[in-house]
Every structure is written in C-alpha cells, then in structure tokens.
C-alpha cells in the first residue's frame, strides 16, 4: 500500500494519543488539591487539640513529610506519582520523596555513600538554591534597613 506524506501525517495524527495535557492537569489538580486539603485538615485538627499555632505551622509539613516517606518506602507513593505528576511533586511530598527515593534505590552502595549521600541528589540543589536566594534577600533586607 502506497500513501503520500499528507495522508500519512493525517493518519499518524489520528492515532497519536489525544493531547494528554488536560488529563495530566486534571490529575495534578485533584491529587495536589487533595494533599493540600488534607494538610489543611490536620492543621485544624492540631489547633483543635490545643497545640500552639506556631508549632502547628512546623508540625503540619513534618506530618506530610512523614507520610510521604512512609508511603514511598511501602511503594505506594510512586504508583500515585506516576499519574499525579505535579500533583505529588509540587507539594512538600515531592521534596520528601526526592530525599528517600534515591536513598532506597542506592542502598546497596552502603550506608554512607549510598543512603547518606544519595539522599541529596535532588534535595541538595533545592536546599542550595533556597538558602542562597534567602541569604541574598537577607543582605538586601539588611541594607535597606541601614540606608532607610
């Protein structure tokens, strides 16, 4: 069977998966939203059991990080992340998963250079850029205070 370029193009287009962007966005929205809603729920729960708000502000991300690490260890997290995309990456769950995942994968390289070092393959750059930009901000903020 002979087909010209145009016909082939049309055929290929008709067979290609219809733009998955909207579907990906929907999953990201639903899963990411659910994680944030869950965080809001436990935030209010901690306040309800009379924990100080300042502590709660730290305790909520700590709880989420705990659950994300646990579910990554159990192998559940990666299954969810596969279709949630940004939904699990963007919340602090993504940072937490980025710490434990390479540690689990390269455990065989030992406790120091395997687990200890690989934890920071992705989390390292995140901390580095976060810290550097915060120091720049701190110096600028200090300068503003001195000059004004």
């Amino acid at each position: 069977m002979k087909i010209d370029k145009e016909t082939y193009k049309k055929y290929a287009k008709s067979r290609a998966p219809s733009s998955p962007l909207l579907k990906d966005m929907l999953f990201a929205f639903l899963v990411g939203g659910a994680i944030c809603a869950f965080a809001e729920g436990i935030y209010n729960f901690y306040l309800y059991i009379k924990i100080e708000e300042d502590t709660v502000r730290t305790l909520v991300p700590v709880t989420i990080v705990f659950l994300a690490s646990l579910t990554t260890g159990l192998g559940v997290f990666d299954n969810l992340a596969k279709f949630a995309g940004a939904g699990t990456l963007v919340p602090i769950t993504g940072f937490s998963n980025a710490v434990i995942s390479p540690a689990l994968d390269d455990k065989s390289e030992g406790l120091v250079m395997g687990v200890g070092a690989k934890m920071f393959t992705i989390a390292g750059p995140v901390i580095v850029y976060g810290v550097i930009s915060s120091v720049i901000y701190g110096v600028l903020y200090w300068l503003c205070g001195v000059i004004l």
């Binding site: 809001e40 991300p61 159990l74 990666d78 995140v126 930009s133 915060s134």
Partner: protein
C-alpha cells in the same frame, strides 16, 4: 462551616498551583529537580517582596504546602532573624525557619530507607 471553606480553599488553590506546574512539565524539558529548584527560589522571591504571607493567610495549606511555601518560609525566617540580630541573621534565619521540614525529610527518609527495600519499577 469555616473549617469546610478553609479545606475547599486549600484544595482549589493547592490544586491550581499543581495544575499550572503540570503545564511546564508537559510542555518544557524541565526535570523534576529543576522544577523543585525553581519553585523554592520563586517562593523565596515572593516571600521577600511580601506577597506570599497574605497568600497563605488566604489559602492556608493550599499556599504553604506547595514547595513555594517552603521558599517563603526561608524568606520569612531570614527577615525575622535580620530584624532580631542584624546582618548575621541573613546567614542563620533561612535554615532556622525551615529546619523542621528539612530535618524531618532527612530523618524519616533515612529511617524508612533503612527498613524498606526499593520496589522494582515497571
């Protein structure tokens, strides 16, 4: 009833942030590591210019749970420390503000990496 609306707001705002980032994942070649770095840096900038705090006041965990909120925590920690201790605060404030999250990720990550085995991926 206010609890219900707080949770709905967190859901909608947090979900919207994730949906927007999903566009970047699908349409650009940015790796997850780069996306996380961009989010945290963006959070520091937004926290520094003072727009992130009101955003958190509005959306609660919908704004603080995404990694931009982590960046904003760094910025807020630095501002507090500079107010209290002067220039040295620029070095101490960021990690002090975000110590809980980072330490939890390291501690739980290490702990669970020891007890679990990596699962084969298909």
């Amino acid at each position: 009833m206010s609890l219900f609306w707080d949770i709905v707001k967190a859901f909608l705002v947090g979900g919207a942030i994730c949906a927007v980032v999903q566009i970047f994942i699908d349409k650009t070649a940015l790796t997850p590591a780069r996306i996380l770095v961009c989010l945290v840096t963006l959070g520091v900038i937004l926290g520094a210019v003072g727009v992130y705090k009101p955003f958190i006041d509005f959306a609660g965990c919908g704004a603080s749970t995404p990694l931009t909120g982590f960046g904003a925590t760094l910025a807020e920690g630095v501002r507090k420390a500079v107010d209290e201790r002067g220039l040295i605060g620029a070095l101490t404030g960021g990690l002090t503000g975000s110590a809980g999250g980072i330490t939890a990720a390291i501690f739980f990550g290490y702990f669970f990496a020891l007890i679990f085995r990596s699962k084969p991926r298909d």
